[in-house]
Amino acid sequence: MTPPLVEVRDLKMHFPIYAGILRKQVGAVKAVDGVSFDILEGETLGLVGESGCGKSTCGRAVLRLYDITDGEIVVDGRAIGGEDQRSLRRMRPTMQMVFQDPQACLNPRMTVGAIIGEPLVEHSGMSRAERTARVEELMDKVGLNRAFINRYPHEFSGGQRQRIGIARALALNPKFIVCDEPIAALDVSIQAQVVNLLEELQDSLGLTYLFISHDLSMVRHIADRVAVMYLGKVVELAPRDALYDAPLHPYTEALLSAVPEPDPAKAGQRKDRIVLQGDVPSPANPPEGCNFCTRCPKVMDVCREIDPEFREVQPGHWAACHLHDTE
């Protein structure tokens, strides 16, 4: 069996909190607190969760856009958890990112050609003519008109801007792309266009995606396997159909039942909707025991004391919940 393209083990990303006149560290925001998963070559792993659960931080940490607190990351056979940024540079062409806000991630003073070509300037020895040819090829690939190569980002619509971001990520023929909410800022009819584009590119280029989103229905569409995060931890990880048809963790259940169904007949009969009470606790001060114990409808005494272990409950289906303890 081929080893997975991306292996993440016990990844931790804590942001220190300083207070007082001496700026002493008084605590840490545990944005990502012990996350482990694998992504196989050519597959899409969906990462879902509510805002503030650490899913974006997790995506950025996997690409080492942060200096991580602890843990191991292996991408394409190379451990990058402890590497310094200088040696990481040589790894960057393999792993790229598509950002959430296509408005904010494109430099308004650069032309589209310059934006898409910038990775080529940085990482390849291409001549100017070669670069232009490559940029034009990329624009074709993502469905942008070549004639627009000298235009500026503000001349494009949201969906087209996201295509620019995707073309830039593809410039260096990466193997692994982290898509951080690539469709959240787009309209429904444009979302479908971008998602289809990502899927086509995956088929033709054999890309591997970590697809971060809060849109559970879109993740069901695009992902092969799905990880659910809550308060810095992955609470459930399973193949798509298993997760959506038979979720094991009460948080996944609640999350799925909260998604409105675009069908009035189904919406009417869904009396079993689980409405979670209260808000997500602060990641600087997570509760004792299981992180979800303050809102869990099935909470037991043990949940308030012992943090459940993240283990394989069924083959390929992982969950961190005391409901599935064997003893």
């Binding site: 509510e50 444009i190 879109m218 069901r220 999350l255 909260a258 675009p262 979670l276 009470q277």
Partner: protein
């Protein structure tokens, strides 16, 4: 149209709103007409730029003028035309008879006043309550929208509340004076699904208990399916289809509505191998429309669509559509 058993609380006829910009006029809302009955929840769906928010803000004069200009139309709130009343009367209507919930609870609450002050403000302004009474009513309202420890939180500032809690405060303010019509402009778009579920539950309960008419603007068809009685679909500044919620989802007649329903994936049921897309971009509304706004993206467009703007015509009880091609009931066959 025959008089129903209940009178309409709000009737909008032929509303037209235009923005004057440096590069010419933008016709954001074009001859939009609709009505709402007491206790009814009217859903308004459409993409950004379809004119849904501008329509609602035009109703109660919330658009800055210039650049905005409500050029035509009537907005009848229980028979009174809000486009003709004095600014003073309009101020009474806003927050009094018509409540408004905005999309982003952080930018629509004033950060330098306490939440209590902001809830009491309309109570004192519109209902003439004294400080004590207003305070008691504010606590009542916060309890109504499900904020725990309401009395103790009146002195808190907006930043001390989470996103969901702030949206509850916004709802409490909108409800403060028992409005006859509550306009909610994408109230849950900025919130997470679990918090959205909480807010939807509150709105359902309040509608049952208080019996007000609600206009709910959203681009999320899932939310609409769950709560609306009737739905307006807007595209390019116009209403392209209006229908009760079941016919709209089961038998959509406008090509845009049909395409929109197909583009959204669901968390249950069949999983399509590929998402349906609507090719192209929404229109830019530079001039008063002389043709169907959807023509460039419509698979069924023919010459007439480029030459003439279709009017809304009835195709069923309470169901009308603006299209020269009102799709026959073959929609189901075609999808299968």
């Amino acid at each position: 149209m025959p008089d129903g058993d209940t009178r309409n609380v709000l009737e909008v006829k032929n509303l037209q709103t235009v923005f004057g910009t440096r590069s010419g006029e933008v016709h954001a809302v074009n001859s939009v007409s609709f009505e709402v009955k007491p206790g009814e929840l009217l859903g308004v769906v459409g993409e950004s730029g379809s004119g849904k928010s501008v329509t609602m803000m035009s109703l109660i004069g919330l658009l800055p003028s210039p650049p905005a200009e409500v050029r035509q139309g009537e907005v009848l709130l229980e028979g009174e035309d809000l486009l003709k009343v004095t600014p003073a009367r309009l101020r009474d209507v806003r927050g009094g008879e018509v409540g408004f919930i905005f999309q982003d609870p952080m930018t629509s609450l004033n950060p330098v006043f306490t939440v209590g002050y902001q809830i009491m403000e309309p109570l004192r302004r519109h209902m003439g309550l004294g400080k004590k009474q207003a305070r008691a009513r504010a606590v009542e309202l916060l309890e109504l929208v499900g904020i725990p420890g309401a009395a103790g939180r009146l002195g808190d500032f907006p930043h001390q509340f989470s996103g969901g809690m702030r949206q509850r405060v916004m709802i409490a303010i909108a409800l403060a004076c028992d409005p006859k019509v509550l306009i909610a402009d994408e109230p849950t778009t900025a919130l997470d699904v679990t918090i959205q579920a909480q807010i939807l539950e509150i709105v359902e309960r309040l509608r049952r208990e208080l019996g007000m008419a609600i206009i709910w603007i959203t681009h999320d068809l899932g939310v609409i399916a769950g709560i609306a009685d009737r739905v307006l679909v807007m595209y390019g500044g116009q209403v392209v289809e209006q229908a009760p919620v079941h016919p709209l989802f089961n038998d959509p007649r406008h090509p845009y509505t049909r395409a929109l329903l197909k583009t959204i994936p669901s968390v249950s049921g069949e999983r399509a191998a590929k998402l349906q897309v609507i090719e192209g971009q929404p229109p830019i509304l530079g001039a008063a429309p002389t043709a169907c706004p959807f023509r460039s993206r419509c698979p069924l467009a023919f010459e007439r669509c480029h030459a003439e703007n279709p009017k809304r015509e009835d195709v069923g009880p309470g169901h009308d559509v603006a299209c020269f091609h009102p799709l026959a009931q073959t929609a189901a066959e075609e999808t299968a």
